[in-house]
Amino acid sequence: MFVKIDNVSKTYKQSGEILQALQNVNLEIEKSEFISLIGPSGCGKTTLLNILAGFESVFDGHVHIGGKEVTKSHSPGVTIFQNYGLLPWRTIRKNVELGLEAKKTFSQREIHSISDEYLELVGLTSFAKHYPHQLSGGMRQRAAIASALAVNPEIIFMDEPLGALDAFARMQIQDEILRIWQKHKTTVVFITHDIDEAIYLSDRIVVMSPRPGKIQEIINIYINRPRQRNLPEFLDLRAKILEILHFAKKLQQPDFYL
């Protein structure tokens, strides 16, 4: 198993109160799998992602990725943030190159050719010399994806990466994420609030529930890609998840009729 989350718990102290952010979370993720974490705020999905990405060092339990334990100084993954995580003083190309510059293994020429490759992959070749603020939200998110992919990570964590985009840009980038994922076979852990987005993208959806944050149910999705958003199977899954999240409205019998 590529990712092994073994009995992970995490508590926060918030103004004297102890908050159980995660309670006994167990999850295994296969290599090249696309996993979505979904659930209401406070269910601990971002905490879980931060633990996987090595941003959160104090927790109970163990996390292994590719056989190695995740610690504060070691996580093989790269995170894509909702606010894109681009540096405003760097051009798009220089942003894509940031992670490569950190590795001492590449020459300047190699860095350049790798960033060329990934800029082309996300369709931003002609915007290489632009600064982030000159690009639309969707383009910025594509740049963030390119910068994450450029370092060739074994696993990518995405924390509501499309949350700030409008519906059309969202669907467009969803397709791009799928295309790139299928090409690179990178493992993806994806946080979203959007049930349709989770169904459209994922191999499995992990539904979490709050207070204390824990895994409520794991749903396998066997629909072939590309998925039609209005297929009966798709709608059934959506109904099922809504029900798990207690959003399903039952038809109530009125007390009386006029």
Binding site: F55, V78, G85, P88, K103, Y131, H133
Partner: protein, 251 residues
């Protein structure tokens, strides 16, 4: 060009009021010289080559002092901004030294360094150092935590975090400190040169006073003001360029 119009209009109005005041007020021109005699005084200074020489002298001293202050203020500011635990101890000392006017240091400066170029340089240094130090510390300590998260995300080394993240992230804020410092330090070049120096714009003022030449006195003041304005405008352009690059709009 658009920016030049308010400057021209403003100064035209100012000079007109000045001229009218001297015409109608019946002031003694030795005590309050009219613009035209100041202009001819200015001409005299230019003709004798004093003006250009004084300006060059003052600017050289000023920029030596300013650049030294920038170098020390910036490097110490980067250090303290990063190590806030150390800054906790240094901050009270800086806040204690800062309100002491650079002019108050003058007697000591002359006693320690003698007269000549050094007092003016030191005064400019003191005047510029504190704003640069304090804004750099605050710029570094207040950088967006998300940028540090990005650095961690890609596993940047400590050195790279400093050079590739902290310095550029703090840079726009730091330039504001440099801008404030360049203006306030220019104010003190005159004081520095009035005491220790035998040349420069400050000395020009002392010299004019001793010869009771109000026109030359006012001419030197005009030049000091104009140079200050010019330095501010040039710095503003540099700042605007930096901000534009990062997509920050600032009024």
């Amino acid at each position: 060009m658009k920016k030049a119009i308010p400057i021209i209009v403003g100064f035209t109005v100012l000079i007109t009021i000045w001229q009218l005041a001297t015409l109608t007020g019946g002031y003694n021109p030795v005590l309050f010289p009219p613009p035209l005699s100041v202009a001819s005084g200015l001409q005299e200074l230019i003709r004798e080559g004093i003006l250009v020489e004084s300006i060059v002298r003052s600017l050289v001293r000023f920029f030596i002092g300013y650049i030294l202050a920038a170098a020390f203020g910036l490097s110490l500011g980067l250090y303290f901004g990063h190590f806030l635990n150390v800054w906790r101890f240094v901050n009270p000392i800086a806040q204690f030294l800062r309100p002491i006017s650079p002019i108050a240091w003058l007697p000591f400066v002359v006693l320690w360094f003698g007269i000549g170029d050094v007092p003016a340089v030191v005064i400019v240094f003191i005047a510029a150092f504190f704003p640069i130090l304090l804004t750099t510390v605050s710029a570094v300590s207040k950088i967006d935590r998300n940028y540090l998260k990005v650095a961690k995300n890609f596993g940047l080394s400590k050195f790279h975090i400093f050079t590739k993240i902290i310095i550029p992230a703090a840079f726009p804020h730091i330039t504001t400190g440099f801008h404030i410092a360049i203006g306030s330090a220019w104010v003190f070049i005159v004081a520095g040169e009035m005491v220790g120096a035998q040349s420069g714009l400050g000395f020009l003022i002392v010299d004019a006073r001793q010869n009771i030449r109000a026109d030359l006195l006012m001419a030197a003041m005009v030049v000091i003001g104009l140079l200050g304005l010019l330095i501010d405008l040039l710095f503003g352009l540099v700042e605007k360029h930096i901000y534009a690059k990062q997509g920050i709009t600032k009024d």
